[in-house]
C-alpha cells in the first residue's frame, strides 16, 4: 500500500503531482491511500511514492476543473475517487462527458456541493471592523463552511475588498490579506470580534425590509440553510419577526382605510389639472391629444403615439401605413429600415425630406410578440377608421397640395377605396376630402421582396416620387399665383 500525505493547503497541486506520478507508474487506485494532516499513521507502515513511470497520463481541462473543485469537498474519499476517475479516463475515453455515468454523477454532485458552499461563503461571511490605526481599515470574520473551501473561497474577497486588511478565520484555517497575496495559516481558536455599530444598523434594515403579510419560510430556509445561521446575527431576529407578523397583518386589516392628511388634496389638485380635450386648433394641441389617444386598443401594447413630423408648410404629405418597431420606440415616423429606404428614394427623386410632412394612416404600432421579436401586423379597417380622426386633423391643418399614399392601408385611409394596389400605382386619385393622392408602393414591401422584383418596385417608387415632385412644383406655382 502506498500512502500519499497531502498538505493542509495547496492540496490540489499536491494531489495532481502525486496522481500524475502514480498513474505514470501504473499504480492501481486500490493500492493507494490518501492522507491529510491529522490522519493517524498507517498501522503497518506504508510504501513510499514510487518513481514516475513512462506511461503517458492525460487529463482534459474539464476533468482538472472538476478535480480542482472536488478536492475542496469534505469527503475523505475524494482523493481516491478522483484518482480512480483519472485512471479510468486513461482507458475509457468519453466517459467523462457522459452525465449518465454513476462515477461522473457522484463527482459532479460533490463539485456542485463545493460550489454552493463557496457561494454561501461569499454570501454569509460578515466582517466586523477591527481597531487599527494604519491607512487601511481592518476587518475580521469567523465562518464555518461545510467543506474545506478556505483557499478556494477567499480570492473573491481579495478582489472585492482590495483596499482593506481582512482576515477570515474558519475551523480549517485562517486567511489573511493585507494587499499582497493571501496568507493561509493553520486553525486557531475562534477569535472574539469587537462590537460594530454597522451591525446594529444591519439588524434594523433586516427587520424592516421584511413584509409581514407574506410569509414564505420554506423559500428562506432553502436558500439560507439553518446550518449557516449560527454565524449570521440577523437570523436571531427571525423568531420575533415571525411571531409578530400575524399581529401586524391584523392591525393593518383593523385599521382599514385612513383619512388623508390635509395637504394631500392640495398636492393632488395641482397635479391633476384636467388636460384640454377641446377640439385642437394647432398641430401642437393635436399632437398632445393624440399622445393620450385610446380610440382603439392598439395603444395598450404600443409604446407611444407616433404623430406626423416635418414641415407643416411643405405642401407635400407622405402617408404610410403605421409605425413599425423603430418608430414605436423613438416616437418618430419613418426612422426604421423602411423609412431609410423611403428617405433614399426621396433624395433620388429630388424631394427634400425636411420640406415634407411624414405621417401614417394609423398612429400606433400593431404587433404580436413572437420569441424575442415584435412581428408587425397590418391594422384592421376599424383601426384605420378610428385613426382617420387624427389623419383628417393633420390634413385640415396642413392643407397639403399633394399627398403620397404609401401602400394599400394608406390608400384606403385617404381615398376610402380598398381595391388592389397594382393597377392604381402611379396614378393620382382623389382623397375623401377632395385633395389629390398619388398612389405608390410602401417601402416595406420592397424590403420584403428580393432580386429583380425588388429592383423594379424600387424603381417604380422613385419614379412615382419624381412624379410627385413634378406635381408639387406645378401646385406650388398655382398656389403662389392664386395667392397673389
Amino acid at each position: 500500500m502506498i500512502r500519499i500525505d497531502l498538505p493542509r493547503f495547496q492540496r490540489f497541486q499536491a494531489w495532481r503531482d502525486a496522481a500524475r506520478q502514480l498513474a505514470s507508474a501504473g499504480i492501481r487506485p486500490e493500492d493507494v491511500t490518501w492522507a491529510q494532516p491529522g490522519d493517524a499513521p498507517d498501522l503497518f507502515g506504508a510504501d513510499p511514492l514510487p518513481p514516475a513511470g513512462d506511461r503517458p497520463v492525460r487529463a482534459t481541462r474539464e476533468f482538472l476543473d472538476l478535480a480542482r473543485q472536488v478536492v475542496s469537498h469534505s469527503d475523505p474519499e475524494r482523493f481516491a475517487l478522483l484518482y480512480a476517475a483519472l485512471i479510468r479516463a486513461q482507458i475509457e475515453r468519453g466517459f467523462l462527458d457522459n452525465p449518465a455515468d454513476a462515477m461522473i454523477d457522484r463527482l459532479s454532485r460533490m463539485a456542485k456541493s463545493v460550489r454552493r458552499d463557496i457561494h454561501k461563503m461569499h454570501a454569509f461571511v460578515r466582517f466586523h471592523e477591527l481597531p487599527g490605526g494604519g491607512a487601511r481599515r481592518s476587518f475580521g470574520a469567523w465562518f464555518e463552511p461545510e467543506h474545506p473551501i478556505l483557499e478556494a473561497g477567499t480570492p473573491f474577497f481579495a478582489k472585492r475588498f482590495a483596499d482593506m486588511n481582512w482576515l477570515i478565520a474558519t475551523p480549517e484555517g485562517i486567511a489573511r490579506f493585507d494587499g499582497g497575496p493571501i496568507a493561509y495559516d493553520p486553525p486557531a481558536p475562534r477569535p472574539d470580534l469587537p462590537q460594530d455599530a454597522s451591525h446594529d444598523l444591519w439588524a434594523t434594515y433586516f427587520a424592516n425590509i421584511f413584509n409581514p403579510a407574506r410569509i414564505k419560510i420554506g423559500a428562506m430556509r432553502s436558500e439560507m440553510p439553518v446550518k449557516y445561521w449560527k454565524n449570521l446575527p440577523e437570523t436571531r431576529l427571525i423568531p420575533d419577526m415571525l411571531a409578530d407578523a400575524p399581529r401586524r397583518v391584523q392591525a393593518m386589516a383593523q385599521a382599514g382605510a385612513s383619512t388623508a392628511p390635509s395637504r394631500a388634496a392640495r398636492v393632488t389638485a395641482r397635479l391633476r389639472q384636467v388636460p384640454d380635450d377641446g377640439p385642437p386648433v394647432t398641430l401642437h394641441q393635436a399632437r398632445d391629444q393624440a399622445a393620450r389617444c385610446t380610440r382603439c386598443d392598439l395603444c395598450h401594447a404600443a409604446t407611444q403615439t407616433v404623430f406626423g413630423r416635418g414641415d407643416p408648410a411643405a405642401g407635400l404629405m407622405i402617408v404610410g401605413e403605421a409605425p413599425g418597431d423603430h418608430e414605436d420606440l423613438q416616437g418618430r415616423p419613418f426612422v426604421g429600415p423602411a423609412g431609410q429606404l423611403l428617405h433614399r428614394a426621396m433624395a433620388e427623386a429630388g424631394i427634400d425630406a425636411d420640406r415634407s410632412w411624414l405621417t401614417n394612416a394609423v398612429k400606433h404600432f400593431k404587433f404580436t410578440p413572437r420569441g424575442k421579436r415584435r412581428l408587425h401586423q397590418t391594422p384592421t379597417a376599424g383601426e384605420v377608421r378610428h385613426c382617420r380622426w387624427w389623419l383628417d386633423l393633420e390634413r385640415q391643418m396642413l392643407r397639403p397640395g399633394l399627398t403620397v399614399a404609401l401602400g394599400a392601408t394608406a390608400a384606403h385611409a385617404l381615398t376610402g377605396n380598398r381595391d388592389p394596389l397594382t393597377p392604381r400605382r402611379g396614378r393620382v386619385e382623389t382623397a375623401l376630402d377632395g385633395g389629390p393622392v398619388l398612389i405608390t408602393w410602401h417601402p416595406s414591401l420592397i424590403l420584403r421582396q428580393d432580386g429583380p422584383t425588388a429592383e423594379t418596385a424600387r424603381a417604380q417608387l422613385v419614379a412615382d416620387l419624381s412624379q410627385a415632385a413634378q406635381l408639387l412644383g406645378q401646385w406650388s406655382q398655382n398656389h403662389c399665383t392664386s395667392d397673389t
Binding site: P99, R160, L201, A251, M252, R292, T294, Q304
Partner: protein, 411 residues
C-alpha cells in the same frame, strides 16, 4: 420636528422600499477593486440574507425619501397616506451603502424614491448619489436605480452611465388599471421611458466610426415590476403584457408582486391576503416564456378561465391540455420538444442531449440527471418505460394536484 437618527430613517425608508421585489445583482460587467476603489461585480448575483417572506437581500434596497406627491392607491408612500416620512441626505445613502458593503452584507444599492417636487428634481438627486458612489468613492459594486418616468432624457442618460440596472415599474398589467389606480402616472410615458433605456443600451453597443466604444449604459439591463391581484386582469393578459414588455424593451426581468396589504390603506383597494401562489405560478410561466420557448398565449390558453391552474405548475397544465403531443420519445425528440416535457428542466435537457450521444438513456439515467420522473413519466417513452394509457387517462391531473385542504377558518 426632531431630527431623525440614521437608524430611524433607515427603518422608515427600508420599510417603504420593501414592496419592490427585484433583488438581482447579476449579469453586469466584470470588474473588481484590484485596480483601485472598492468592490466587485459581474459574476452571478449573491444573496447575502433572506427574510422570512422568502425574498432575498442582495442589495441595500431603500428609498431616498418616502415623501411623494403622487397618489397611487396601492402604494404606502402615496401623498394621501399618513405613514411617517423621512428623507436621507445623499451622504447618508453613500455612507450606509459603503459601510454595509465593507462588511459583506450587500452587493450594492437599489435606490428608489418617492417623487418630491418634480420628476427631474428626484431623478437628479438619485443620479447624484450614484455619481458620488462611482466617481468619488470608486465603488465597483452593483447599483440599481429606479428611473422616474417623465424625467429629462439627459438625466436618464447619466443614470445609465453609473447604474448597472435601470428599472421603470409598469405597476399594473393593464393601462386602464394604471389610469385608475395611479392617476398621476401615464402608461404611455412609462413605456416610452423603457423604450429610451433600450435605445440607450443599443446606442452604447455601437462603435463610432473611429472604432471607439461609447461608455457602457446600464450593462445589466432593465427590469420592471407589476402588481398582481390589485385589479381583475387575468393571468393570460398579464403574460401577454409581459411578452410585449420583453420583446419591446428587451427587459431582463418582469417581477410580479402579489398585491399585499399596506398599513394605512387606500379605500380604493381591498385588504386581501397576498396571492402568493398566483405570483409563484406567474414566475413559472414567465420562465417558460424566456427559457422554454413557450408563447404567452399557449400558457394562458391551458385553462378556459384565462388564469393559471394554482394546483399544478403551468408546464404540467399545458402538457395536460395538449396530450396529443405526448408521449415524447426521449431518444429522438428535438430539444424544443424535450423542453416541453414536465419535469425536464433546461439543464436536464442539456444532459439528455449529451447522454444520448453516448448510448440509450434509461429511466434510472434520467433520475440521476435531475429529471423529476414523477412528473415526466406520463409524457415520455424510454427503452425501459412506456406510459401506455397513462398519458390519456382521465385521472391524470388528480395525480399531481394536491388533495383539497380543509379551509382554514381564520384565514
Amino acid at each position: 420636528m426632531a431630527m431623525k437618527s440614521i437608524q430611524q430613517k433607515l427603518a422608515i425608508l427600508s420599510d417603504a422600499a420593501k414592496y419592490d421585489a427585484s433583488c438581482a445583482s447579476s449579469g453586469t460587467t466584470r470588474r473588481d477593486s484590484r485596480s483601485g476603489g472598492i468592490g466587485s461585480a459581474g459574476g452571478s448575483g449573491i444573496c447575502h440574507a433572506y427574510t422570512p417572506d422568502g425574498r432575498c437581500i442582495s442589495l441595500l434596497k431603500i428609498l431616498m425619501t418616502n415623501f411623494c406627491i403622487y397618489d397611487c392607491a396601492y402604494c404606502i408612500n402615496r401623498v394621501s397616506s399618513n405613514v411617517e416620512r423621512a428623507r436621507f441626505s445623499p451622504d447618508e445613502v453613500v455612507k450606509l451603502t459603503l459601510e454595509f458593503y465593507r462588511r459583506n452584507m450587500i452587493e450594492g444599492l437599489f435606490l428608489s424614491s418617492g417623487i418630491i417636487r418634480s420628476p427631474d428634481q428626484t431623478m437628479g438627486d438619485m443620479v447624484r448619489i450614484a455619481r458620488m458612489l462611482r466617481v468619488d468613492h470608486g465603488f465597483k459594486g452593483y447599483i440599481h436605480l429606479k428611473t422616474i418616468p417623465d424625467s429629462a432624457p439627459d438625466l436618464v442618460a447619466e443614470a445609465g452611465l453609473y447604474a448597472d440596472r435601470l428599472s421603470v415599474n409598469i405597476e399594473l398589467p393593464q393601462d386602464a388599471s394604471i389610469r385608475r389606480l395611479a392617476p398621476e402616472k401615464r402608461p404611455e410615458t412609462i413605456r416610452a421611458a423603457m423604450a429610451d433605456v433600450r435605445l440607450g443600451r443599443e446606442a452604447a453597443k455601437e462603435r463610432s466610426f473611429t472604432g471607439k466604444r461609447p461608455p457602457r449604459f446600464a450593462p445589466a439591463g432593465q427590469s420592471t415590476q407589476m402588481i398582481v391581484g390589485a385589479d381583475q386582469t387575468t393571468d393570460r393578459q398579464i403574460l401577454t403584457t409581459s411578452a410585449n414588455l420583453y420583446t419591446g424593451y428587451r427587459l431582463k426581468r418582469v417581477y410580479y408582486s402579489a398585491f399585499s396589504p399596506i398599513p394605512d390603506a387606500s379605500a380604493a383597494l381591498p385588504l386581501i391576503k397576498p396571492p402568493l401562489m398566483r405570483e409563484h405560478r406567474l414566475y413559472q410561466a414567465d420562465w417558460l416564456m424566456r427559457f422554454y420557448g413557450f408563447e404567452a398565449d399557449e400558457i394562458g390558453a391551458a385553462h378556459p378561465s384565462g388564469n393559471l391552474d394554482l394546483a399544478i405548475d403551468p408546464k404540467l397544465a399545458w402538457a395536460l391540455a395538449n396530450r396529443a403531443a405526448f408521449p415524447v420519445d426521449v431518444a429522438r425528440a428535438s430539444r424544443d420538444m424535450l423542453l416541453r416535457v414536465p419535469g425536464f428542466g433546461t439543464k436536464t435537457v442539456g444532459r439528455i442531449l449529451a447522454a444520448r450521444r453516448n448510448g440509450a438513456v434509461r429511466y434510472g439515467d434520467l433520475l440521476r440527471m435531475g429529471a423529476i420522473m414523477s412528473k415526466a413519466r406520463p409524457f415520455v417513452t424510454l427503452p425501459d418505460w412506456h406510459p401506455g394509457a397513462l398519458t390519456d387517462s382521465d385521472g391524470l391531473r388528480a395525480r399531481f394536484a394536491p388533495p383539497p385542504e380543509q379551509l382554514d377558518l381564520f384565514s
